[in-house]
Symmetry: C2
Subunit: 221 residues, 2 copies
C-alpha cells in the first residue's frame, strides 16, 4: 500500500522538459522530423542494453551515437542537435507543481538519466533550481534507470527508505523500475496517453504534474 | 583472445530474417511506413527496460504493446501485423552459411528474443530447420538478451564453456551482451553499417553471414 512520501523525485527529460524543440534542430539539419521519436527511443534502447548487460556510457555519448546511427548527419550537425538538450523549456506546470510539494513540507529532488550539468542548466533557465534540494543522476553511480540500484541510491542520498520516496515520471519504464525498487510511483499521462501494459501500473496518475503531486500528497501518512 | 568456436549461435530476427515485409503490413493498415523502425526499436527498449529492472514478458506481448503505444491502430490490426513475424523470408545467404558451419564440424544453434514456435516456423519455411541443432529462446529462462544469463544458458545447453560459443548477430547490443558473458562475437554489418560506438567491438566482422562464419572458422583452435 503506497503511503504519502517524504521525498518526491522528478524525472527530468520529457517529464519536466518536453523534447519538441529538438525537432526544429533536426529539420534544420536536413533530416526528417519523425527522426526525433526514433532517436530518443534508440538512445534509451542502447542505454538500457548497457544497463542489462553490464556497461555504462554517459547520456551525451549515447545520444550522439544513436543519432549518428539512424541518420547520415555530420558529427558537427549531431553535436548541434545534442546541445539542444540544455536549451529545453519546461512544461508550464513545473514551477507550480514543485512549489506545491515544497509548501507541503515534502522534499523535491530530480533523478535523471542525463548529466547533472545539463539538468542544473535546465532548472536554472526554468527558474526552479532553488526549489530542488538535490540533483541526482545516473552518472553518480553509473547505472541508468530503470536498474533498481539508481532508485535505491536516491533514497539513500535523501536518508530515507525507498518506500518514503515517490518518483514522478511520464515514462512507464521508469515507474516500473522505481516500483521494483520499492518506491511510490506517480505517472503523468500526457506523453504516453495509455499506460504501457507490460509495466507495473503506477500508484497514482494525473494528466499534468500538479494533479500527480496532489494525488501523492493525498496518500495516507 | 577469441578462439575457434565449437558452437555458433545465430540471432534470428533481422540477422537471419529481415523485417522489411512488415512495412507492407503497416502501410496496408493505414500507418506510415517509417513506423517499422520506431516500433522495433521501442519493442526492444521496453524489453530491455524489463530486463534491467527485473521483469519479463514474452516477445509477442511486448511487440503488440509497443505498436499500440505508437499508433492508433485497432487491436485486430496490431495482431495482423505482429503475425507477420512468423512469415518473414530469410536472407539468401542463410542456408549457405549454416551449411558451411555444419560441414566444418561445428554445431549450429539459434538464440532469439522471439518464441521457439515462431522461430521453428521461420526456419522450416526457409528450409534450414534440419541444420539447426537447438532452438533456444529467452522464454526458456525468462531473461532477454543482452542479459548475461541468456548467453551463459546457451553455453550450458550445449555443454560447452561460454568462450567456446560464438554469437553471430546484426545488432551491436546483442554482441555486447555476448561479449560481457564471455562468448566470441561475429557482427554482420549490413544492417547497422557502422558498429555502434557505445558497445564492445566484435571479434570478427563481415558484410554477410558467410563472411562472418568463415572468419569465425578461421580463428585459431
Amino acid at each position: 500500500m503506497a503511503r504519502r512520501p517524504l521525498v518526491i523525485a522528478f524525472d527530468v527529460i520529457e517529464t519536466l522538459f518536453p523534447l519538441e524543440p529538438l525537432r526544429a534542430r533536426i529539420l534544420a539539419a536536413g533530416a526528417p522530423g519523425h527522426v526525433l521519436e526514433l532517436w530518443f527511443t534508440r538512445l534509451l534502447r542502447d542505454a538500457f542494453a548497457l544497463t542489462a548487460a553490464g556497461g555504462y556510457r554517459p547520456f551525451g555519448e549515447i545520444a550522439a551515437g544513436a543519432l549518428e546511427s539512424i541518420t547520415s548527419l555530420s558529427e558537427d550537425a549531431v553535436r548541434g542537435i545534442v546541445a539542444g538538450f540544455a536549451e529545453l523549456d519546461p512544461h508550464p506546470d513545473v514551477a507550480p507543481a514543485l512549489r506545491r510539494v515544497r509548501e507541503a513540507g515534502v522534499s523535491v529532488i530530480t533523478l535523471t538519466n542525463g548529466s547533472a550539468h545539463t539538468t542544473r542548466t535546465l532548472l536554472r533557465r526554468a527558474g526552479v533550481l532553488d526549489d530542488v534540494q538535490q540533483v541526482l543522476t545516473v552518472d553518480d553511480i553509473q547505472r541508468w534507470k530503470p536498474a533498481p540500484e539508481i532508485y535505491q541510491y536516491a533514497a539513500h542520498a535523501c536518508q530515507v527508505e525507498p518506500g518514503q520516496v515517490a518518483l514522478v515520471a511520464a515514462h512507464g519504464w521508469d515507474l516500473h523500475g522505481a516500483h521494483q525498487a520499492g518506491l511510490v510511483t506517480g505517472w503523468v499521462s500526457r506523453l504516453e496517453g495509455r499506460f504501457p501494459p507490460v509495466f507495473a501500473p503506477p500508484d497514482v496518475t494525473g494528466d499534468g504534474l500538479v494533479e500527480v503531486v496532489e494525488a501523492l500528497l493525498a496518500l495516507t501518512e
